[in-house]
């Protein structure tokens, strides 16, 4: 499953992702200049959280056990079997907002004018998510969870090997894979 990963150290909180997401995914005109003149104002599906020194963009995490799917009163929220994404079928959404009360990340937002809930679908039917394409610092990127899992596996293996080779009576620094004599 592919998800949007965030490099927190690279995010400057510029909100370019928010602007382009709203313009591309929620506006009629699909241009920044047109979008800012539209009413109701187009809403982004990614939100830059935090302060000047701790900014990071947050969007739907497509939880494996997604509480929003269970909460949905009409079955509008569902998981796309092929991609693993949690998607919202806008034709079934009645705007009851129950899902917004169940998303622990607070990334499902109500659109009262359109009477539907909005959430990130990782721009599933586009080549690349808009936010990833426009991020000026490369803080957002599409990552494959399986690749991440492989990296984690390698790290676990290295840790296990380091643990196996620790001399008796010494202290093991798990994260470094090193040991020091006590």
């Amino acid at each position: 499953m592919k998800v949007i990963g965030i490099r927190k150290d690279r995010c400057t909180g510029c909100k370019t992702c928010e602007l382009y997401c709203a313009a591309e995914r929620c506006s009629e005109s699909k241009t920044l200049l047109g979008a800012v003149q539209e009413a109701p104002a187009p809403q982004p599906r990614v939100h830059v959280e935090g302060g000047p020194n701790d900014a990071f963009p947050l969007q739907c995490r497509h939880c494996l056990q997604a509480p929003c799917i269970d909460a949905c009163l009409t079955g509008a929220l569902c998981r796309d079997e092929a991609s693993g994404m949690v998607l919202i079928r806008e034709d079934l959404c009645i705007g009851c907002w129950t899902c917004t009360a169940f998303c622990p990340y607070g990334v499902i937002t109500p659109s009262p004018e359109r009477k539907i809930a909005l959430k990130c679908d990782r721009c599933l039917y586009m080549e690349n998510p808009v936010c990833v394409d426009v991020c000026p610092t490369g803080a957002l990127e599409v990552v494959d969870l399986e690749e991440i899992e492989k990296l984690l596996h390698e790290k676990r293996l290295a840790t296990a090997k380091a643990a196996a080779g620790v001399p008796e009576g010494s202290l093991l620094l798990l994260d470094q894979g090193r040991s020091v004599k006590s």
């Binding site: 269970d70 009409t74 079955g75 009645i94 009851c96 907002w97 917004t100 607070g106």
Partner: protein
């Protein structure tokens, strides 16, 4: 011998789906008393008001599953725990290996209405009655909704929006008594009045007037209110009729542990019928999301040697009342500290109830931003700090608060004049 699930509401359907997924080699039989099973009960107010088509009420069809049998229009007469079998009203007997009771409740009808023999009185509970109500409303426009529940408020708002003359009669002090504080309820009540709904609170039911076999008025709180239709949404009472003598009931209630297991380890319960005994108190959340989680968890626990408890028992609910969004995060608690943010002119009130610094409930009316984050905060059971309490202020930017940088903020103006 297989799994039997009694009840075709959302808890029952979720249980059936979860059971087939978790235990793929076990056959499942789902029994439902209604002729139609598997519809969104929460949409009935919209359906009655003509805001939603009947075909949109049903759950999306599932693929054919040879190990899942659905018996519709079948009632259970009795349960024999020792022999592990159910006796149906048609005389048939079904044996089970594991059983999930998810048959919900019956609409609560005050005595005077339960015995009234006249046309125009309908509970808001099931699809068959909802169809009759919709038919009736085609040539009756003066509706009285009795009850202060979420369903009653929703029904009144949707009918009013559809152009009906609507009065809402509430027995006690304010609407949504089990979910909202009086201050929060006031915001909702003002909105209902703005919609054009005539609201009567503190109005217990006293008398009925019947004209030519049809209801023509109702006396509540000492006042006669004319109407040609009475919709009752005053809550539900769990249906425990066929469980009498089974040994599963405690003081007339089907009490389960947090893993949704009854006193018989082979029998589980989920949804409106279950009363969960957790942490020294009895909880029956009676909400749609709870019914879904309970149905799932009960099914997953069926064959587990150590059934897992359901940890989130909060009574979260949300609704949109034609211009007023609201999320209830948990009922008011006696003695709790209340922190709130209010903007009455914009119909906004956001409040949290704290006990020992830990949020235990609250409500967001008019502005529901950060609802999910506040829910997660309540679920975590942590003492909250001032940063998290700031979540109560409507969020113009983000939902995760960060401290403001220390010191005064200054803007440097680059102007030729300076």
């Amino acid at each position: 011998m297989a799994c039997i699930i009694v009840g075709g509401g959302v808890a029952g359907f979720q249980a059936a789906a979860a059971c087939r997924a978790a235990w793929p080699d076990r056959a499942v039989t789902l029994i439902d008393a209604e002729k139609e099973a598997g519809y969104y009960r929460t949409l009935l107010p919209q359906f009655i008001a003509g805001g939603i088509a009947e075909e949109d009420l049903f759950f999306p069809p599932r693929g054919v599953d040879p190990l899942l049998t659905v018996l519709r229009g079948v009632r259970v007469r009795s349960l024999d725990c020792k022999e592990r079998r159910l006796v149906l009203e048609n005389g048939e007997t079904l044996s089970y290996e594991r059983l999930i009771l998810a048959h919900g409740g019956d609409p609560y009808l005050p005595g005077i209405l339960a015995t009234a023999a006249c046309g125009g009185i309908f509970p808001v509970r099931d699809l068959t009655t909802a169809r009759k109500t919709k038919e009736w409303l085609a040539d009756h426009r003066n509706v009285l909704v009795f009850g202060g529940s979420l369903v009653a408020v929703k029904t009144a708002a949707h009918l009013r929006h559809a152009g009906f003359e609507v009065s809402l009669v509430v027995r006690r002090g304010h609407v949504l008594l089990r979910a909202l504080s009086p201050e929060a309820a006031k915001v909702v009540e003002n909105h209902l009045r703005d919609l054009g709904i005539r609201l009567h609170v503190n109005a217990p039911l006293e008398d009925l007037r019947i004209k030519e076999g049809v209801i023509s008025g109702l006396k509540a709180g000492g006042e006669w209110l004319p109407c040609d239709t009475l919709l009752v949404a005053a809550g539900t009472s769990p249906d425990t009729s066929f469980l009498e003598g089974s040994g599963l009931l405690t003081d007339g209630e089907l009490v389960v542990n947090p893993a949704l297991q009854t006193s018989d380890p082979r029998i589980f319960a989920a949804g409106d019928v279950a009363v969960i005994a957790a942490g020294g108190e009895k909880i029956s959340p009676n909400t749609w999301p709870q019914a879904v989680s309970q149905g799932k968890r009960a099914a997953e626990n069926l064959y587990r040697s150590t059934p897992l408890p359901l940890t989130d028992l909060t009574r979260i609910n949300a609704m949109e009342l034609h211009g007023l969004a609201m999320v209830t995060l948990g009922p008011p608690v006696d003695g709790a500290e209340v922190i709130s943010y209010e903007r009455p002119e914009a119909k906004v009130r956001r409040e949290l109830f704290l006990i020992g610094g830990k949020p235990v409930g609250g409500a967001l009316i008019g502005d529901i931003s950060a609802a999910g984050t506040l829910h997660a905060l309540i679920h975590s059971g942590r003492v909250i700090g001032s940063g998290e309490a700031a979540l109560l202020r409507p969020q113009a930017t983000g939902v995760i608060p960060f401290p403001e940088p220390a010191g005064r903020r200054e803007a440097l103006i680059l102007s030729s004049k300076r």
